[in-house]
Symmetry: C2
Subunit: 696 residues, 2 copies
């Protein structure tokens, strides 16, 4: 069932139509007429002959034809009745604006489900309830009651804003319009009871005129649809920037009380967005900040910045901001420096940052010569022009025109930082993205180049299917090690011993010392119970340890299931690998530094399964302990490849539906210059799977 | 020599006066006449009878009286001549605008020094050269050629902007004026050849109408004057916010090429500012962002925020932003919740964040009741009101008036976040600080409360006198340990042994194993030469180690000065304490995590000496390893007090002028649950001090 009738209907009826163009049932009629909608508009109002000058109808059944789309601007029980009528008539798209449904509790959710069922049976789709409506300024189908389209005059353009929240659909709209940027789509999906925000995004991103997609999400109701959106966006080279709010613990609680959104570990959202090439904005400011840069269609090849200003102080501030944000300062080769030297006055520096000095007052054409000269340098990826003050003597229209001409001639990306509005306006008119301060400009550029790089390496894909909740059963260490070994994790040589003789024979074969530990699913925290003996290198020590541990298990009142003998492994660093199933995103693997500070001083990274070795290697580079993988103080580098392979194996194990492993805890994974060996593990499986395996 | 003649002269002469009010020599005359200067203005121009309608004089000598201040708007050799004339006549204040002096090299610096000497002999002070001038809108003494006072109409007000750079004196001026904030002082000191930026700040901060001081610094020419400024500011409760540019390595290089500023380790600047209660802004945006909050005179007692919005999404975003920035969400007690419940519609939440919902459309008075109710709660320190959309039906003037009335009635701090300019304007008119987004509002509030807290605990003070450079001499480990022990650092029991017998006797007294190491100032990196033996617990091992080490020293071609025997100390963590003399700020002590990753994964904090135990304890809490001082996984907490005492002792040693210690490296300091023991140290002293000590 296509969503086209929502975005490009040929006819629209408004149930609850108001003659007052400032009421909820009146505003969509006003908008449809003002913003160029070409199709039929049918007000439904049993009490009036006309509504806002249009012929009004008493009911949907009275219409001369079945409308493609119906705006349901009534409340209460009228909503369900109208949905039923729409479905019966063959309407394709219904937008329910009223609140008071799923967001209020189970009864509201039940009604939503009923309406959805009714609609689907009839081939109809529903947006809402609790939707502010949809607005497509390309077709004039503005089926929305937002007041913002009066406050900020619409102009069709390359941006699409899609949001669950009504307010956050029009906030970016307002901020973009204030900057003169055209917005085509401005949609609020509300409760997502049928059509959800991600499904609508997947439709909108196919609009060939959409060049930038902005999303506001409070929940992720449909990761698969979001991944589909990302895949289409990648194909079309449309950047997606998304706010997923509730990113902090307190924010997440606030979001739950606002929308009843299911909480998910926030960094899984980060991982999912990154995989899909979606840039995650922290808030509304970040969502729109770099819009002009994206819309230029620039494809920066690197992050090397050149700064040009008539103020040395601006140069210093821009360089500070760039280095802080992670941009690099381009280094001009001698030939470019020579050329700049020939252009600039003797006391100006031909190096980057280029301080063209007050000479700009006497030579207004400096930008027309400096930009192309520096632009020819292959070491420069983009420019920041800084003009801190304005006033008589500065020929801003000329500077702006020269900069604009450089851009139009295929020059490299240029942005302006200027605190004076008049300077910004002059440059904006010439198509140069403008910012108030060096920090703003640099932050926007950094986001832009980082996002373009993310888009280049992204591999959009839906998360693995989430497993239904199940009671969990922890396996004992022996079975845990066997499972992860079978999946491909290198584990320390070990043996479950139910007799001292068996343990003796293990010790005989050992290349060095061994460890002896209690082994029982009922005793997962064996260290805390003193049931681990290290450094065993003699039969006497073994016998004593064996007896101690058997007695210890007995003291805990647990049946004796054997002791696990294990080679004592040496290495340089203890890491941990954990894996679990997120209820929304499926298998996730966490790799991190280990030891006693694993919780107190966390240093780890999360990956969504499936992932490959290159992805783990990249992820390991984001850890604080990354230098250890390059070698520190003459020590050999830790074996990152071995860590990566272990993590991949854990991810694979979590994806294996037969084993139905629900969580894995490899702690520690002992890493050396050549290898990574698991010496302890705890695997939890769905209890049903255990039962099944046990029965086999 | 007071600086009053610069800020409130009774008469001003302009040498190089121009009839054209848009020239450098013309603009100050225009400004003095336009902006209410009440004193005499004397244009000096030998070629004209009048300048801009004022009687012109051929020379300073022709004036009817000696002017308090002279603006020197000529260039080249005319500058020195004019300075000489001013000094001879008894002028008190000269402002040199021309560039081409100290910033161009040694010859320029020499000329600056000559002018300064001439001036001081005559009791005159000089601002500049390379100064855009000074502007005091309180007295109308606008002795500046900045074009910005035409671009942005001045209005006297509570802010002072003082900068070395001309551009960065007027950039904050322009940004503040665009927000309607009045600025009294706007000064650019240029090359600081005589009056420097800090000295001028110390004068300006005494102006009783100045409530906020903004500084832009590219160098710190006079930390003592800055500390004096900070002390007066603390006394007067005037917040100081400063940009010190060149804060990154690349930025610092750029700053040096711009001003020739001496590079100093950037975090010393952080430490110095923090000690003096000065908030360090990253750039111009941060410098002015929270200005309105400071100017309200609010004294927040905590960081607990309440959020009120008609949009649930805005609530979520504000909470996200607050938690991210480090503010806390206030938790209303039941009585307040009950009261809010009685005010709000049934479906709205009386909890924080308070979503007052679309009920605001039908009840425009909600703010007038919600703010006072929540404001009575002692758990709330400040409010963020969020209004994401505007439009007909929302009575913004009423909301703004209600919020303003709450503030005027002594309510707690309130700021507004609203993307629509019209909403912001309504609230700004009522005296509410306004921001475009939740992020902006929260960042400003966070800076404000953090800065007020910093001001409360600051103890302004000049840095210790920097020592003149001297050749350094490294002491051997034995002398190094003795020096730090004498200063109060607990060191491991040790003895310099020149015979095996001496070492034997040390081992006999040892409570456990000992370490034997080569001891010679000529072999500072003994470990790298294999000249350290650990785990010695027998006479045999000792004899063998002794012989090996003696042979090893010989192999290096160094004279044998003895071996250092040392108790082998056990502990939980190896820390390091380093100390050195910064050429500007004097003794600095660095405390950090140790081990082989000390450089690769740095985790340390810098303190300027002198400091006390409480300061070190605070500083240790900023380390990544801070949890170790609270105890991790049942392990006892590391002894932070012992670390603090060791750091204080190192700081004290650096301050001791007799010893003239120039650097200290305690590595490692072995820290346990009860104590911190230095087991190795390297002290460098000024060679002269050694010579002196040796002679004694």
């Amino acid at each position: 069932m296509s969503l086209a009738p929502f975005l490009s209907p040929e006819s629209v009826a408004i149930v609850g139509a108001s003659d007052n163009p400032d009421k909820i049932g009146g505003r969509p009629i006003r908008y449809l007429r003002e913003f160029g909608f070409k199709g039929d508009v049918f007000p439904i109002n049993p009490g009036r002959d006309t509504v806002q000058g249009l012929k009004a109808y008493a009911s949907l059944a009275d219409l001369p034809k079945v409308p493609d789309a119906v705006i349901i601007a009534v409340a209460g029980t009228g909503v369900v009745d109208t949905v039923n009528t729409c479905a019966a008539l063959g309407v394709k798209a219904a937008i329910v604006m009223a609140s008071g449904f799923g967001e209020t509790g189970p009864e509201g959710k039940r009604i939503e489900a009923e309406m959805r069922e009714t609609a689907h049976k009839a081939g109809m789709r529903i947006v809402g309830p609790n939707s502010q409506g949809l607005a497509n300024f390309g077709t004039g189908a503005v089926l929305s009651f937002s007041t913002m389209f009066i406050e900020a005059q619409p102009e069709d353009g390359p941006v699409a804003c899609i949001s669950q929240s009504g307010a956050m659909s029009v906030v970016p709209y307002g901020m973009l319009r204030a900057r003169g940027i055209g917005v085509r789509h401005c949609h609020a999906t509300g409760n997502d009871s049928d059509v959800n925000v991600a499904e609508l995004a997947a439709e909108v991103v196919q609009d060939p005129d959409v060049k930038l997609l902005l999303l506001y999400l409070e929940s992720l109701p449909d990761p698969a649809a979001l991944a589909r959106t990302a895949a289409i966006a990648k194909e079309r080279d449309v950047p997606i920037i998304a706010v997923k709010s509730g990113r902090t613990a307190a924010g997440s609680r606030a979001a739950q009380s606002h929308t009843g959104a299911i909480a998910t570990e926030d960094r899984i959202v980060d991982a999912f967005f990154a995989k899909n090439g979606i840039w995650r904005a922290k808030g509304m400011r970040d969502l729109v900040r770099a819009a002009e840069l994206y819309l230029k269609g620039w494809k920066p090849v690197g992050r090397r910045l050149a700064v040009i200003s008539n103020s040395g102080a601006t140069c210093v501030l821009a360089v500070d901001a760039a280095e802080h944000a992670g941009l690099e300062m381009a280094e001009f080769p001698p030939a470019i420096e020579d050329e700049l030297r020939s252009i600039l006055p003797g006391f100006a520096s031909p190096r980057n940052p280029v301080d063209i000095t007050a000479a700009l007052l006497t030579d207004s054409g400096l930008f027309s010569r400096v930009l192309p000269a520096a632009g020819r340098d292959t070491s420069v990826d983009m420019f920041l022009v800084g003009i801190p003050v304005s006033g008589k003597g500065y020929d801003f229209p000329r500077f702006a025109a020269d900069t604009g001409a450089f851009l139009k001639d295929g020059g490299k990306p240029v942005v302006l930082a200027a605190p004076q509005a008049s300077v910004r306006e002059a440059f904006a008119r010439e198509g140069v993205p403008v910012f108030e301060t060096e920090d703003d400009a640099v932050e926007a550029m950094t986001q832009f180049v980082n996002h373009r790089a993310l888009m280049a390496r992204s591999r959009p894909g839906a998360p693995a299917a989430a497993r239904p909740p199940a009671p969990l059963e922890g396996l004992d260490e022996n079975r845990s090690l066997q499972l992860i070994a079978a999946a491909g994790v290198t584990v320390a040589r070990h043996r479950l011993c139910t007799t001292l003789d068996a343990a003796r024979s293990f010790l005989e074969d050992a290349p060095g010392k061994i460890v002896l530990k209690a082994c029982s699913a009922a005793i997962p925290h064996k260290s805390e119970h003193g049931l681990v003996r290290l450094n065993i290198d003699s039969e006497e020590a073994l016998a004593s340890a064996y007896a101690d541990l058997v007695a210890g298990v007995e003291r805990l009142g647990q049946p004796f299931e054997g002791l696990l003998a294990c080679d004592q492994v040496k290495g340089e660093r203890e890491l941990v690998i954990g894996g679990y199933h997120d209820p929304v995103f499926g298998p996730a693997v966490v790799i991190g530094d280990g030891g006693i500070t694993v919780e107190a001083m966390p240093d780890n990274v999360l990956l969504l399964s499936p992932f490959d070795e290159a992805e783990v290697m990249d992820a390991l580079q984001t850890l604080r302990i990354a230098p250890l993988f390059r070698g520190v103080r003459g020590q050999p580098p830790l074996d990152a490849g071995a860590v990566a392979r272990a993590a991949i194996a854990v991810g694979k194990l979590l994806c294996d539906e037969t084993a139905d492993v629900r969580s894995v805890d490899v702690n520690p994974l002992i890493v050396s210059a050549s290898g990574a060996i698991a010496v302890d593990a705890l695997v939890e499986v769905a209890a049903t799977a255990t039962a099944r395996a046990a029965a086999q």
